[in-house]
């Protein structure tokens, strides 16, 4: 396994920007996820690393080797495609063996490695099936085996779970992650699904409009987003625009004062208040600093969502669904409540939401 280094990588399509000046290092054995809305440049980046697309400028290195101008077939990356891209005219075993065949292994050597790879993804019994005779999940595992059997220098995942149903997705997510860690695969993954990114990646790269917004661990991005876009993209977030009023308060554009702490490392152009719904506690009655009126209560199973109107602003709080008898259980629309949070938790960030 190699380290992947991307330097000032840029791709322009005519006058429009695909990716602009991307710098990123993926360490050996690390899984880094590129996360962003469609058109943010994440897939373009992956394709440039795989060698399917020539960059306009910048470099791609595997360890210290510059592969920027190396054709895709000489790069030895192992990619799992969103569509799986299994060869429809070849059996599962032949699909897995294709890369070995291209590397000049003879039939008997191939057979052993293919059997091992299929065993790794628990598909030995389906080796002779054609792709169309396999379920989506099975096809996905063939694609996984096919990419891994060649001992790739870099492992690439392009929205690997998006074609699976929800239940399978959670399962395969863990499976891929376990495999990636066990084999120590240097992995670059592309996804638009924040849950997928948060649960699988060692580090996340949030992209938008071809540029990197923030790079960090899932926790860093979730708890300390650099801007409102990142805050909103990695999870649900209350974002209110306004300005810091003093050391302990934020004034929203609607004139509401919200408790915050002295910002350390806060940017001067911070013009938004960001607070995750699950960080807000609700107390019935009108006792607290921030008082409002319940607008809507939505039961979501384990959790319940409360939409609370405070003056002209609206905040969403998500709490564990209360048991009968708890004070929150009796809450209904139009009741008065006060909202509370640890004043160290809200982030004041620049609002760059487009």
């Amino acid at each position: 396994m190699a380290q992947l280094t991307i330097e000032k990588l840029t791709k322009r399509f005519g006058t429009s920007i695909g990716v602009e000046g991307l710098d990123l290092a993926v360490n050996e054995g690390e899984l880094v996820a590129l996360l962003g809305p469609s058109g943010c440049g994440k897939t373009t980046t992956l394709r440039m690393v795989a060698g399917f697309l020539p960059p306009t400028s910048g470099r791609v290195l595997f360890d210290r080797e510059d592969v920027t101008h190396l054709p895709a077939y000489k790069r030895a990356t192992g990619m799992v495609f969103q569509s799986y891209a299994l060869f429809p005219h070849m059996s599962a075993a032949d699909n897995v063996g294709f890369g070995l065949e291209m590397r000049g292994l003879n039939a008997s050597e191939r057979k052993i490695k293919v059997a091992d790879a299929l065993k790794l993804v628990r598909l030995s019994h389906l080796a002779d099936r054609l792709p169309r005779q396999l379920s989506g999940g099975q096809q996905q595992r063939v694609a996984l085996a096919r990419a891994l059997v060649i001992n790739p220098r870099i492992f690439l995942l392009d929205e690997p779970l998006s074609n699976l149903d929800a239940k399978l997705r959670a399962e395969v997510r863990l499976e891929i992650r376990a495999l990636q860690q066990r084999l120590g695969l240097t992995t670059l993954m592309v996804t638009h699904d924040r849950e997928e990114a948060l649960t699988m990646a060692d580090r996340l790269v949030v992209m938008e409009g071809g540029r990197v917004r923030q790079i960090g661990t899932p926790q860093q991005l979730y708890d300390s987003p650099d801007d409102a876009f990142v805050a909103d993209f990695v999870g649900r977030c209350n974002i209110l625009s306004g300005r810091r009023a003093n050391e302990r308060q934020f004034r929203t554009s609607g004139g509401l004062l919200l408790p915050v702490d002295v910002g350390s490392g806060e940017r001067d152009d911070a013009d938004a208040f960001a607070l995750r719904p699950e960080r807000i506690a609700i107390v019935p009655g009108e006792s607290g600093e921030v008082r409002g009126r319940v607008q809507a209560i939505t039961y979501m199973g384990a959790q319940t969502e409360y939409v609370v109107a405070i003056g002209d602003e609206t905040l969403v709080a998500v709490r564990p669904t209360p048991d009968a008898g708890e004070p929150l259980a009796a809450l209904k629309a139009n009741d008065s409540v006060s909202l509370q949070w640890d004043r160290k938790v809200p982030r004041l960030v620049p609002q760059t939401l487009s």
């Binding site: 795989a50 054709p71 077939y73 990619m79 495609f81 569509s83 891209a85 294709f98 291209m102 096919r146």
Partner: protein, 276 residues
Amino acid sequence: MALLVVPACLLVLALLIGPMILMFRISLNQFSPTQLMVQALSPDNYIKAATDPYYQQIILATLGIALLCTLLTLILAFPAAYWLGRMESRWKSLVVIATLFPLLVGNVVRSAGWMALFARDGLVNTVLMKLGVVSAPLEIMYTTKAVIIGIIAVVLPYMILTLSAVIESIPRDLEYAAANLGASGARVFWRVILPLSGPGVAAGSILVFVLCMNTYATAVLLGGPRFKMMAPAVYDQFVRGNNWPMGAALAFMLLAVTMAFTVFGSVAFARRYRTG
């Protein structure tokens, strides 16, 4: 709803099957130079077509030219079809129309133009001589070469469009996946693109082979009076020789050989690429 199919069926029955039955009956008659057609029930015409070296040679030449033209057309058409099939430009429909453009010019008109181009004192020879590339005019007209070039020019659009439709349906990701696994461009072609283009190769080749087997105007105009293919030979028997029985028998021979090769080719192909 089923009734709506009736008019088309009747038309086919009346204008295709009917005449074919009549023709088959005629092919069993016999020919006399004085009485022309004599009623009979004999396979003599077929035996003659199959054993007489003159007809044998025509059948073999036609078959050879058709097979060669099909192969050459396939080879020439594939790169163009690939390019067209992978094209994402908004000009694509314009390119498709441009591909079809040669078909707007009838075979006779086109061949006449080529006669002007290829003649001893035609454009090609004039230019080549002026440039000093050749010292004596090339013999292009009235050769097998001219006929093959002429036929390919006519059938190329059919092959390109049939192939490009199939190539377009092959997901681009399969090429990327093959490259990702270490396949160079040539190996991506042989291992992925070509096998998956199978249905298009089969359909295009059959279409083109049938067209080649039945070439008439191109063979007559570019091949000249001594060049013989099946379709002109059938015409000769009917019109010049007034020998309807022999003409009918030759027509059925042409049909039989074409069908035999088409069926054989499709079955062999289906066995080779049993995919779907």
